[in-house]
Every structure is written in structure tokens, then in C-alpha cells.
């Protein structure tokens, strides 16, 4: 049996004293690819922030059975201030865990890794440009590089496919498929349909969490858990079509 990366047991969290998520249970294994779905305001981002250690734990447990894993985080695009005067290179390098912040500059190995990452993402032309000059897709690429540069064991992506074009979306899926061979992935999306061929299991978050150990999810299950997502449909490319349904 594989050792899980993260075990969450009966966890509750929220903001100030208001509980947003309660009784959450989730186990993340090293090769998982979990799609986190649920209605707006249901607590999807709060859940990933809890895992990242950015949210206080009101009750329950968040355990790391084999030590705290290295985590790469891609926040929602709206959380990034595109007018901030930071270069693409600086942005990506901020993903390197600073073991000693007293050393202000990158060492030779880190510099090499940074160059590799920039090359791999095809961002060489923009390396020394401010992030404000990037397109939506390019910025997401740079943010993904920032999340990946520290070789994470768990990659957490919060709505990576908003404000990006179709071309980048396809490229993102190819990346994620390859990355999932090396790391666990948690992907928050309101639009799970387009990305679901990659996903191995689904967590529906709406004040609490319901885990579905496959990516096949029936309308019946969705109705029970009040998740406004799609049902499976056939088409020329593997995809699912979103279908909203009422929830209480």
C-alpha cells in the first residue's frame, strides 16, 4: 500500500470565526489527480488553502504521514496583481524555497534550473520583462513555472483555465498529463468538464467534501451532493458538456 501524502480527517476551517468548511475528509496519494469541483463560495479555494497551511484549522486533523510534502501552488489569476513591477524571471524564481533568506541571490544550480524552466515554458523572450507585458496564457505559464520550480510532490492549481486561450488550455493539459507521472495534482475548477479526461477522481466541495473515487460521475450523484457540474457526453474530442442543475 502506498503511503499517502496528505490525510485530512474531520477538518473544519473558515474565516475569522465563520466556518466555511466542516467535516472534511480527504486522502491524497502520490499519483492522484483529483478534480475539486463545487459551486462558487462552496469552499474550493478554502480547501486548497487549508492544505497549503494558509488557513487555520478550527478542528480535525491535517496529517502528512511521510513528512510535509513540497507543494507547488498556482493561485487564481484574479489573485495576481499584474501591474506589480516584478519580472518574469523574478516571479518564477520566487517559487524556489529559500532555505536561508539571508542569502539574497540564487546560487549557480538555482540559476541553471531557472533558465531550464524558462526555456521549457518558451518564455525566454519575456524573462526580463515585467509580468504586465504577458498575455493571460503566458502569465499562467509563468505562474505554473513558479509552482513547479521547486520540484513539488503535490501540485495545487486553482482555476488554471480561466482567462486563457484554447491553445494554452491544450498545452496545459499536455503538461499536466506528463506532470502527473511525477507528482500528485489537485485541480480546482468550475469547468471540470473540459479537463476531466485527465482526472482520476473527483472531490465535490460544498461546505463539506464528497469524494468520488473515479472520474465517472452520474447525474444522480450530483443531485445528491448539489454540485452544479456536467454529465458525460460524446463528441469529436474527449470532453464533457457542462449542465447546470439546481441546488438547494
Amino acid at each position: 500500500m502506498k503511503q499517502p501524502l496528505i490525510v485530512i480527517e474531520a477538518a473544519a476551517t473558515g474565516y475569522n470565526s465563520e466556518v466555511v468548511l466542516r467535516d472534511v475528509g480527504l486522502t491524497v496519494y502520490p499519483d492522484d489527480f483529483i478534480g475539486i469541483i463545487g459551486p462558487n463560495g462552496g469552499g474550493k479555494t478554502t480547501l486548497v488553502k487549508l492544505i497549503l497551511g494558509l488557513q487555520p484549522l478550527f478542528s480535525g486533523k491535517v496529517l502528512f504521514p511521510s513528512g510535509k510534502p513540497r507543494m507547488g501552488y498556482l493561485p487564481q489569476a484574479s489573485q495576481v496583481d499584474r501591474s506589480f513591477p516584478i519580472t518574469v524571471k523574478e516571479l518564477i524564481s520566487s517559487g524556489m524555497k529559500s532555505r536561508n533568506t539571508l542569502i539574497p541571490y540564487l546560487n549557480a544550480g538555482q540559476k541553471q534550473r531557472l533558465e531550464e524552466m524558462i526555456r521549457e515554458a518558451g518564455l525566454q523572450r519575456y524573462a526580463n520583462k515585467p509580468i504586465g507585458e504577458l498575455s493571460g496564457g503566458q502569465l499562467q505559464k509563468a505562474l505554473l513555472c513558479r509552482a513547479l520550480i521547486d520540484d513539488p510532490q503535490l501540485l495545487i492549481l486553482d482555476e488554471p483555465n480561466t482567462h486563457v486561450d484554447k491553445q494554452f488550455e491544450q498545452e496545459l493539459y499536455r503538461w499536466l498529463k506528463r506532470l502527473n507521472q511525477q507528482m500528485a495534482i489537485l485541480l480546482v475548477s468550475h469547468d471540470i468538464g473540459t479537463i476531466s479526461p485527465l482526472i482520476k477522481s473527483i472531490a465535490c466541495v460544498n461546505e463539506t467534501l464528497h469524494y468520488h473515487p473515479s472520474n465517472q460521475i452520474s447525474e444522480e450523484v450530483l443531485k445528491v451532493y448539489h454540485c452544479p457540474v456536467d454529465v458525460i457526453a460524446h463528441g469529436p474530442v474527449p470532453h464533457r458538456v457542462l449542465k447546470s442543475h439546481d441546488h438547494e
Partner: protein, 277 residues
């Protein structure tokens, strides 16, 4: 014209120039942080709250800058605390501290027996009366700031840009934010001597937005803002002398004029390039 330059031989004028240059350097570094984080309003809160400290120091017969520094630092730390933990809206809290500081200042000055001749110099600055000791204080602070940015450039930048992400990477975000709050407060209070409470914030914003017309790189904005700050404030001091107008107001006027002229040149240049294309 030789008359205009004869002023350089006077010590008070040399001191004024040194103060203007050092204030520009200090404001360039801290102002880049303020403008990048879009927290100019916090700067305003710190500046005006420090007036309470000036008033209290007058009342108690202490050094007014000491009072300003204490009030400024406490206000800056309080705002950062509210921003991190508060259940009060940050902008409302800043407004309260802003006006409370001014109110306390007015009350203490009113209660101070006799006339308080220096009061106007705190409100509007008095760069022409800066002494040697004050220049040394500015010099030491400017050097400490350079050292701070040299050592902690990356964490300062990362905690300013995306504090949540920085926290996931193990950077002690809260510690850096509080440190920068203290730095902001001290930089602002030390700069009050040059242009006064009413106008000091422009030293922390106008050179930066002028520099940002040329670059959007934090690292490059700092020296460029220092350069525009120095040019604008030296022009302001000279202009004030030649036109016989208040120095602090002339500095701000020249800094703004400089920004507008460069901005207009850039607009015209871009229009010409577009037309050619």
C-alpha cells in the same frame, strides 16, 4: 546667472542640497515599495498620525522628531496588524488613525504654553534650516536602507507581490511586513524635515511614477526614482531661491512638472511612431 550659483557657497544651501539628495534616495527605495504595493493611503495615514507625536513632544518639551517617529511607527504597526488580523475595514482604520493623529497634534499644540514657532516647519518642511547632525542621520538611514534592500531584496519583493504564495514557500511573511512597516514609518518621518507633513507623500510617489514611465522592474525603479527625485528637488530648491517662493512647495511643483513633461513627450512620441507605422 552667476548670482544664482553664488548661493552654493553658503553652508545652509549646501546642507539643503544634501538633505534633498538623501531624502530623494530614501524616498526612492521606500516609495517604490509603497507604490508597487499600492499602499499610498497607508503612507498618508502614517504621515498624518505622526503629527500627534509632534504635538505631544512639543507639549512635553521633547524632540518633535522623536515623537513623530514613535507615533509613526506605532501607526504603521497598527495598520499592518489590522491588515493581517483585523475585523475592521483596513481603509476605515487608516482614516481613523490619520485624523486621530492630526487631532491629537492640534490638541497638544493648543495645550502647549506660549508660541510654537516650529510648528509650520513640520507642516510645510524647512529644508533651509537642516543642520549637519540631521544630514548625518539621513545619511546613516539611507545607507542602512541600501543594506536592507541588498540583503533582503528577494523576500521583500516576494512578500510585497504575493504574500500568500511567499508563505507557502516558508518565508516569514508577517515578520517582513512588520519590518517594512517600521521602515516606511521611519523613512516618512525623516523626510518630513525636507518637505513637511502636508507634502511628504509626493516624494514617495511622484519620482516613482515618473520612473515607471521608463521601466516596470522594481530593481530599476529604485535608482531611477532616486535620480528623478534628486533632479526635481534640486530644481525645486533653485527655483524657490530664484523666484522667492516656499521651498517645499517648489520641490513638489517641480517633481510634478517633471512627470507631466516626460509623460507628454512620451504621448507625442508614441503618436508620431503610430502615425509613421
Amino acid at each position: 546667472m552667476s548670482d544664482a550659483f553664488s548661493i552654493f557657497q553658503y553652508q545652509f544651501f549646501q546642507h539643503a542640497l544634501a538633505a534633498a539628495i538623501l531624502t530623494s534616495v530614501i524616498a526612492a527605495m521606500v516609495g517604490t515599495y509603497i507604490v508597487s504595493r499600492k499602499i499610498v493611503f497607508i503612507g498618508g495615514g502614517i504621515t498624518h498620525a505622526s503629527f500627534g507625536g509632534i504635538g505631544l513632544a512639543f507639549y512635553m518639551g521633547l524632540n518633535p522628531f522623536l515623537g513623530a517617529a514613535v507615533f509613526g511607527v506605532i501607526t504603521a504597526l497598527a495598520i499592518e496588524w489590522i491588515s493581517q488580523n483585523g475585523r475592521v475595514r483596513e481603509d476605515s482604520a487608516i482614516a481613523i488613525l490619520w485624523s486621530l493623529g492630526m487631532a491629537l497634534g492640534i490638541i497638544f499644540v493648543f495645550m502647549t504654553p506660549g508660541y510654537t514657532p516650529n510648528l509650520m516647519s513640520f507642516l510645510f518642511g524647512s529644508i533651509l534650516t537642516v543642520g549637519r547632525a540631521e544630514i548625518y542621520v539621513l545619511l546613516v538611514f539611507a545607507m542602512l536602507l541600501m543594506l536592507l534592500f541588498a540583503l533582503f531584496y528577494r523576500p521583500i519583493l516576494f512578500t510585497a507581490f504575493d504574500p500568500e504564495f511567499a508563505r507557502t514557500k516558508g518565508i516569514p511573511v508577517s515578520r517582513y511586513r512588520y519590518m517594512m512597516s517600521v521602515v516606511m514609518a521611519l523613512a516618512i518621518v525623516l523626510s518630513i524635515r525636507t518637505v513637511g507633513i502636508i507634502l511628504v507623500l509626493s516624494m514617495f510617489t511622484i519620482p516613482q511614477i515618473t520612473a515607471m514611465l521608463f521601466t516596470r522592474n522594481f530593481y530599476r525603479i529604485m535608482p531611477l526614482a532616486a535620480m528623478w527625485g534628486i533632479i526635481g528637488s534640486v530644481a525645486g530648491i533653485m527655483g524657490a531661491y530664484l523666484l522667492d517662493i516656499p521651498t517645499s512647495a517648489a520641490i513638489i511643483f517641480f517633481l510634478t512638472l517633471q512627470f507631466l513633461v516626460i509623460k507628454i513627450i512620451m504621448i507625442i512620441r508614441n503618436a508620431l511612431i503610430r502615425n509613421k507605422g
